[in-house]
Symmetry: C2
Subunit: 220 residues, 2 copies
């Protein structure tokens, strides 16, 4: 009736133990970086919850510790910003779509490109999937914006709180609405399962909106 | 180019402001309950991140604050247990499936029923959906186990850490593997989109496994 105590393949178990050692090291590094801002316990919680949040949709586990490190660091930075414990030198814009695999990734890359440091950009998804949409990656590559380093991330409260502008695309009202922020809801095609040609049209539609948004934010 | 600053319907915005007031009240209540264990800041983070985690897959927002309160309280309890800051009177069993809408919910209800307080049970999903599977709810109702109060919850690190036994069902290796826990991987049908008759067969298959697991845990 009761199956063996460790039915998971040995490699997975080994991977996990290895990951935990790496996660503890990441926690220590981030605890040093956020010293005086967050306790080591808070940092460790963020690292391990970020890992579990990413692991839920990740099929390839090899890169998990590396992206966990980036995700946790970004979330802790966002939290520190929203609490006034870290400087916010430029406006923060958050793009949210469903999978954080196409639209929100393209939008974030376009705005970061056009803003040239005058705006900081984040993206997230209400139901993140395993990897970015190949058509979206290809269409962005054509204009010289590589998305190879990007990965789908679940929407978290901290990044919403840190944002000045939140742009939602197709994710319904899954994003918390806080007073004092500007919310935009953009309706545009999802590149999921589309051809590169179709993704190109979405990219260009996004580019026009992003240029308008950039001017609008910088004019304020 | 740039759309109106508040394109979300007024009701949603009102709902959100209302929810935030309720979430602050929930945070205060839980901070009192966990006084001396966790700081009010940690409790508030758990409440708001739990809300955002649930909101990502919830289409009906009316019940969100109530289930956030239960989810955050359970997660904080799990965290306190795993850190040795709260008593763990009985073994903890965690069931994980993909949607936390069928298999893991049925398994949790069956084990809680048979264990009669001798085991504490939790459940979670790697990709939780909006609501429980109607066929699973109906099949459980037939044997007098109501699932009306249950809701799909995302898998978090805290509940894995608190568990003595983790049973995974169809969720791949999305669940972190920690040393010193017992992991079981059960292969059985998913009641998603199935008839009540089919869900009944899954329920009976689960019931046999659950009785075996219960005896096995209590015999140790």
């Amino acid at each position: 009736m009761v199956e063996p105590t460790s039915p998971l393949p040995g490699l997975v178990q080994d991977d996990n133990v290895l990951h935990q050692n790496v996660l503890h090291r990441i926690s220590e590094e981030l605890a040093t970086r956020f010293q005086g801002v967050f306790t080591p316990e808070t940092v460790e919680r963020y690292v391990f919850e970020s890992y579990t949040g990413l692991a839920r949709s990740a099929k390839i586990r090899a890169h998990l510790p590396a992206i966990t490190s980036r995700f946790a660091k970004d979330r802790l930075t966002a939290l520190a910003q929203s609490k006034g414990l870290a400087a916010k030198d430029v406006p923060e814009v958050l793009f949210v779509c469903v999978h954080n695999a196409g639209r929100s990734q393209m939008a974030a890359a376009l705005l970061a490109h056009h803003a040239q440091g005058r705006i900081h950009v984040r993206s997230a998804g209400s139901m993140p999937i395993e990897h970015l949409e190949p058509s979206a990656v290809a269409a962005m590559q054509e204009i010289g914006l590589g998305l190879e380093e990007e990965f789908p991330k679940p929407l978290t409260d901290d990044v919403v709180r840190a944002a000045d502008v939140v742009v939602t695309m197709g994710c319904g009202d899954s994003c918390p609405v806080y007073a004092g922020k500007r919310y935009l809801d953009w309706h545009l095609e999802d590149p999921a399962g589309k051809t590169v040609e179709q993704a190109r049209a979405i990219r260009d539609d996004l580019d026009t909106r992003i240029r308008g948004l950039l001017n609008d934010i910088l004019d304020r």
